[in-house]
């Protein structure tokens, strides 16, 4: 890394320390943890956009798939729901899979004009069987204890395991989606992935037997100690006394610090792999494909399958980040996934940091998240300045101050436009 680039990171740390001193260390660590998660998402997008030039506008969907896995892995299983409707769900999903397999089988095996009719028959029969079993099972599951359960629950395994599973689930989804949409032109790919991510969110929002939907799953187990247990632990209280700190305040900081350690570890591992991949012959091949498809194709590179490969890898990284995000929050809130926040904001991070450079993605993730949070107080200051000539409680002033938080969207857009115009290679350009 060059000196200038190191300076960016140092400046970020100084700003963060400033937040710690001026606002509170809790806020600073909270921002830092989210910065790390954002950096991982940006890393995933960079693998797709920076290495291979794929415009994936469906990041939100893969992040949500990761979040879904966190619930499915770590939540306590709901035994009653399983015994009531478990068999029905499994059976109906099996029928669904068999139907799809049959469609492909018929498509391949029959060449007669009857093929279309057979396929339609298969679809109708499969749909009829599936619908009957499925709706009965869903009703049974959702009717059991709807206030606290009403879904199948998870496996009750440690939540850190879901980080790996989240990556795998997102990779599986990416494989399926990539097979369908990667043959498309660049802007069609963006629109197709945008649509897929909306569908994934719709499923997570409305399939209550699986995710509790908009009732949210809360209270997921933590990989780090709870504050309430910490303040009752001997060594911790002793430690707090020796450095002369309030144990309760310190416990909250300590928990955030534990998360920080875990996240930093994941980021370091992913970063190591990404850098190795980028500097390997594989990475050079990817960039060759990105810069000149025809030439790479003439050299015998299979472009579609390479693209599929990078698409899957990038989405898996986003899935990991999604699972980590839900871990940090301790809950899954399907209503909170919006494309502006989880797709396009990540794009701003990658473009600002420098497409094609992994360090750039990390830097972009950190800076943009920092600004995303700090733009809110900044917005209030700005609006206060604009509305200074008005007297207090003037309706326009009240209205503008109320909506001051929305100015951060303007800031993000302005950053993206400025970078695209004046520094299209980003803060840390690709080498």
């Amino acid at each position: 890394m060059k000196q200038k680039e190191l300076l960016y990171f140092i400046a970020f740390v100084i700003f963060l320390i400033g937040v710690g001193l001026l606002q509170s260390w809790n806020v600073a660590f909270g921002i830092l943890n989210m910065c790390l998660i954002s950096a991982i998402m940006a890393l995933g997008v960079n693998i797709q956009w920076g290495y291979a030039g794929l415009f994936n506008a469906g990041i939100m969907g893969f992040v949500a798939l990761g979040g879904l896995s966190a619930v499915l892995v770590s939540a306590e299983p709901v035994g009653e729901a399983w015994s009531n409707g478990g068999i029905g769900i499994v059976a109906s999903l099996t029928i669904l899979v068999i139907t799809i397999a049959m469609i492909f089988y018929v498509q391949k095996m029959f060449a007669s004009p009857l093929r279309l009719w057979i396929i339609i028959m298969v679809i109708l029969l499969g749909y009829w069987l599936f619908q009957g079993l499925f709706s009965a099972a869903v009703e049974q599951i959702e009717s059991f204890n709807p206030a606290f359960a009403g879904y199948l629950g998870g496996l009750g395994l440690p939540i850190t395991l879901s980080w790996i599973i989240g990556g795998l689930v997102a990779a599986g989804g990416a494989w399926l989606i990539g097979r369908i949409s990667l043959g498309l032109r660049a802007d069609y790919l963006a629109i197709a992935t945008l649509g897929i991510s909306e569908i994934i969110i719709a499923i997570i929002k409305y399939e209550e037997w699986l995710t509790r939907g908009v009732k949210n799953v809360t209270g997921l187990p933590r990989p780090v100690p709870y504050e309430i247990n910490l303040v009752e632990t001997h060594w911790f209280v002793d430690l707090a006394e020796t450095i002369n700190a309030n144990p309760i305040a310190m416990a909250s900081l300590f928990v955030k610090f534990c998360y920080f350690g875990l996240f930093l570890g994941v980021l370091a591992i992913l970063m190591w792999f990404s850098e190795r991949a980028l500097k390997s012959p594989w990475g050079r091949m990817m960039r060759a494909i990105r810069d000149n498809r025809d030439a790479a194709s003439a050299m015998g590179k299979d472009i579609t399958s390479r693209h599929l490969q990078t698409f899957i890898l990038g989405c898996a990284v986003c899935g990991i980040a999604g699972a980590m995000l839900v871990t940090l929050d301790g809950q899954l809130v399907p209503g909170s996934y919006t494309p502006l926040r989880y797709t396009f904001l990540i794009w701003v991070m990658v473009i600002l940091g420098g497409s094609g450079n992994n360090w750039g993605s990390i830097l972009g993730g950190c800076i943009i998240w920092f600004l995303w949070i700090q733009a809110e107080p900044l917005g209030y200051v700005l609006v206060g300045f604009i509305t200074f000539p008005f007297e207090d409680n003037h309706w326009l002033k009240n209205h503008l101050v109320e909506n001051a938080a929305q100015t951060r969207l303007i800031l993000m857009g302005a950053i993206l436009l400025m970078v695209m115009r004046f520094a299209p290679k980003g803060l840390i350009p690709e080498r």
């Binding site: 030039g53 415009f55 619908q131 709706s135 369908i180 949409s181 498309l184 660049a186 802007d187 069609y188 963006a190 629109i191 197709a192 945008l194 649509g195 897929i196 909306e198 569908i199 719709a202 929002k205 409305y206 919006t338 494309p339 502006l340 396009f344 794009w347 701003v348 473009i351 209205h399 503008l400 109320e402 909506n403 001051a404 929305q406 100015t407 951060r408 969207l409 303007i410 800031l411 993000m412 857009g413 302005a414 993206l416 436009l417 695209m420 115009r421």
Partner: protein, 336 residues
């Protein structure tokens, strides 16, 4: 009688809403198409331009209402529409001048344009939400219904009522007029012909003295007019909510692509294909079938193919199927 009841039911819940929605989508898709044919990129900011235009219209509507001016039985928003359109044109031309012109000179790739339009989308979304706030607003006023369900029942003696909202009729009338005007402009007037020539072959068009900046400006003006109209009509038909427009982006894109991107006729066709599929697939046919079959055969379930929650999934699935089977969209041929 049961047969007539079934038809009325079908009209009330499927035909009328789907036609209205289709007209709104078609207007939006026409805007995407115009920009695509001239500048060759997918404009992610189009739905926010719709939101912007509709918001300005709404502001003036409130002002007019507070002054006591109304359009009689029609919604006041129609009076405010010209100002909304003017504001949207100003916005579109400003983005063209400050943002897109630079990339046009560089002949940047379509993906660069798309990313830049994401930036514009952010700014516009922020401005709109900053000015009007994120809450839902009611736009419609005046006489809400042209035909009320109760009156319809009383007059015809049928069990099912047919309700037609004023906004629905306005939507369809405006959409038809607007589409006609657009085709007249593109195929009969000099600037329209210049646009088509530019879209067909930029270099040849330049050679024959067509000014690129002017063509692009006209394209943006057309896009802004279409965007404001579709945004306002959608707001009148349902309600104005800044978040909704982001979700409308997908069906609008789908309409433009399904019909054949860069084809004005295709955009209209695509809009209706998407709208009808969404409504037809998510409508519960239980009552409709109950009217048509003998009493013993009445269905138990809702006979709904897909839950309404998956409306967006439908536009997307149609998009993917069309892209896989017929990548050019329904209508083939030269762009514009």
């Amino acid at each position: 009688m049961d047969f007539v009841n079934a038809i009325v039911l079908f009209c009330n819940f499927v035909l009328v809403p789907a036609t209205t929605y289709g007209a709104q989508l078609a207007l939006g898709a026409l805007g995407i198409t115009v920009i695509y044919s001239i500048l060759r990129f997918a404009n992610f900011a189009h739905s926010e331009l719709m939101s912007w235009g509709a918001m300005l219209t709404l502001f003036l509507t409130w002002y007019l209402q507070s002054m006591g001016i109304s359009a009689g039985p029609l919604p006041t928003a129609l009076l405010a529409l010209p100002v909304g359109i003017f504001g949207a044109i100003a916005m579109a031309l400003t983005t063209e001048k400050l943002v897109y012109r630079f990339y046009r000179r560089q002949r940047a790739s379509s993906i660069t344009f798309a990313i830049v339009s994401v930036g514009v989308m952010f700014v516009m979304a922020g401005l709109t939400r900053f000015m009007i706030g994120p809450d839902e607003q009611v736009m419609v006023d005046g006489q809400r219904f042209l035909i009320k369900a109760i009156e319809f029942k009383r007059k015809t003696g049928l069990q099912e009522g047919l309700a037609i909202k004023t906004s629905q009729v306005i939507t369809i009338v405006v959409a038809v007029t607007m589409a006609g005007a657009l085709f007249w402009f593109l195929y009969r007037t000099r600037p329209g012909k210049a646009m088509r020539a530019f879209s067909d072959n930029q270099d040849l068009a330049l050679l024959s003295g067509i000014k690129p900046d002017r063509v692009v400006a006209i394209a943006w003006i057309l896009a802004a007019i279409l965007a404001t109209l579709s945004g306002t009509l959608y707001g009148l038909d349902k309600s104005y909510k800044p978040f909704v427009f982001m979700q409308l982006l997908l069906p609008i894109f789908a309409s433009a692509i399904v019909g054949g991107i860069g084809q004005p006729v295709g955009a209209i066709l695509g809009g209706f294909v998407i709208a009808y599929s969404e409504v037809l697939l998510t409508y519960a046919y239980k009552r409709f079938v109950t009217y048509l079959v003998p009493r013993d055969w009445a269905p138990e379930g809702l006979l709904q193919l897909l839950s309404t929650n998956y409306k967006f999934a439908i536009s997307f699935i149609i998009l993917v199927v069309v892209l896989l089977i017929r990548p050019t969209g329904i209508i083939r041929g030269k762009v514009l």
